[in-house]
Symmetry: C2
Subunit: 273 residues, 2 copies
């Protein structure tokens, strides 16, 4: 078996259609730091020849996923990319069904509330309800944050089998974002234990100083935890006690209602307060 060409992907990528993978990775180049790219830049970033880069941008442009400025020739993502993402998002039905409960939770607490799902060891925001700029980090739908240092992330991990958590967290370096960040896997597992007992989780300034939040799991009809809701508060304005005492009960109520809306059969569970 002469390893003539590095076919890295563990070999199981025998079926991988490469051109598709390439094209998609090209779309990922665009972001906040590089909202538009020239053909040259694209080719360099991807490590492709100009010709190849041209064929891919051409294709994506034809299909509407890239726009090209006619004068500068630079490419920008086209609005059609939203068709990819959001036909899909709506297909989950999650956001739509959760929206009104998020609204209610926001009204009752006056704090920004979010909905997120787990993807590998990240959480991805899928909906939010907040006042303008209460949050320090700029969170938008689709944003990713590491799971291990966020309340929703911990909740989502807490309800996964231990084996899966091990697999997901393998390769994640638990960076100490703040002095409060939990950076030991063992400690994390103890927190998961606690979360499962309490039915919710709290993180205190682990990702960013001055922000703490509480999160609760959302169950679907099959009894899986598929998402988490949180309430996020500023440490300077709301104490942990207040978060726990005033906001958590509302949070749990909202989480339950969303779960029910998704068809979850509620089991009355004892919750340590």
């Amino acid at each position: 078996m002469p390893n003539h060409v590095s076919d890295f992907e563990t070999g199981d990528s025998r079926y991988m259609v490469r051109s598709l993978a390439k094209g998609l990775s090209l779309l990922l180049c665009f972001g906040r730091e590089s909202p538009s790219l020239s053909l040259k830049e694209l080719a360099e970033r991807m490590g492709w020849s100009k010709g190849t880069a041209y064929r891919f941008t051409f294709t994506l442009q034809q299909l509407g996923y890239l726009d090209q400025d006619p004068t500068t020739k630079r490419y920008r993502p086209g609005v059609k990319v939203l068709d990819l993402g959001f036909g899909c998002l709506s297909s989950m039905g999650l956001t739509e069904r959760a929206q009104s409960y998020l609204e209610e939770l926001f009204q009752k607490t006056g704090q920004p509330v979010h909905l997120a799902v787990l993807d590998d060891a990240d959480i991805v925001y899928v909906a939010r309800r907040a006042d303008r700029s209460l949050t320090t980090i700029n969170l938008y739908v689709g944003a990713r944050l590491p799971a291990y240092c966020t309340s929703m992330g911990k909740v989502l991990l807490a309800y996964r089998p231990r084996e899966e958590v091990r697999r997901l967290m393998k390769g994640v370096t638990m960076r100490r974002h703040t002095p409060h960040t939990v950076t030991s896997l063992e400690r994390l597992h103890r927190e998961f234990e606690q979360i499962r007992r309490a039915g919710y989780g709290i993180t205190d300034q682990e990702l960013e100083l001055g922000v703490h939040s509480a999160a609760a799991p959302i169950w679907d009809a099959s009894g899986q935890v598929i998402a988490a809701v949180n309430v996020s508060t500023l440490a300077g304005r709301v104490s942990l006690e207040e978060l726990r005492g005033r906001f958590v009960p509302r949070l749990l109520e909202a989480a339950d209602r969303i779960s029910i809306a998704l068809g979850h059969v509620t089991r009355v569970e004892a919750r340590a307060v």
Copy 2:
């Protein structure tokens, strides 16, 4: 030049990388009506052999753009699709910069407000701020509506060169969604004239009975109209006069502010009221 095989795409698709196009069209299969699909269904919809369908789903799954239910084997869009859409959306910067102004407009009017851009003859929602379920249609970010019968659509078209409008509207059948819908291109052009003079546009129940709305253009630094904001109201609760008198001034103010935030150099323009 023997046209041996139908290479439909006007011939200029010589450079089209087919596998990419195919893979992307596969992702578009998923939507509200079909949130999950089996390999078989996918193969049928696409007109592919099972093997081909398998390789594409395999690829997309490996990359995280598709999830597969391990028991039923059915595919659903993976959360990673949001990376495609929203890395991009954020790269526009538009939504982020507009968010706080939308919030303000919503607070002042108490009505749902939206932000949309033009894509072909459609408008695509890129941001919104609304109470729960005031709207009858379920609008989410990424949703598409025809431009010709929406306030934002008309505004967006009104500021495009006539030639471009002709091109975009070619092939669009102006369906009479309600008795109020404007279905003549000529009439539409007269409205555009009016919109340019007034600096905003109103549609009265043209897409759906009971809903009317006012929209205003958003300009970028280069003097182009790149988006539109609207305020949408229920005909039963807010009269057209009230919409015009109470809400439009606020709408215009918000639109101006967003434009300025985008670097637009405000020219003081006379606006007919």
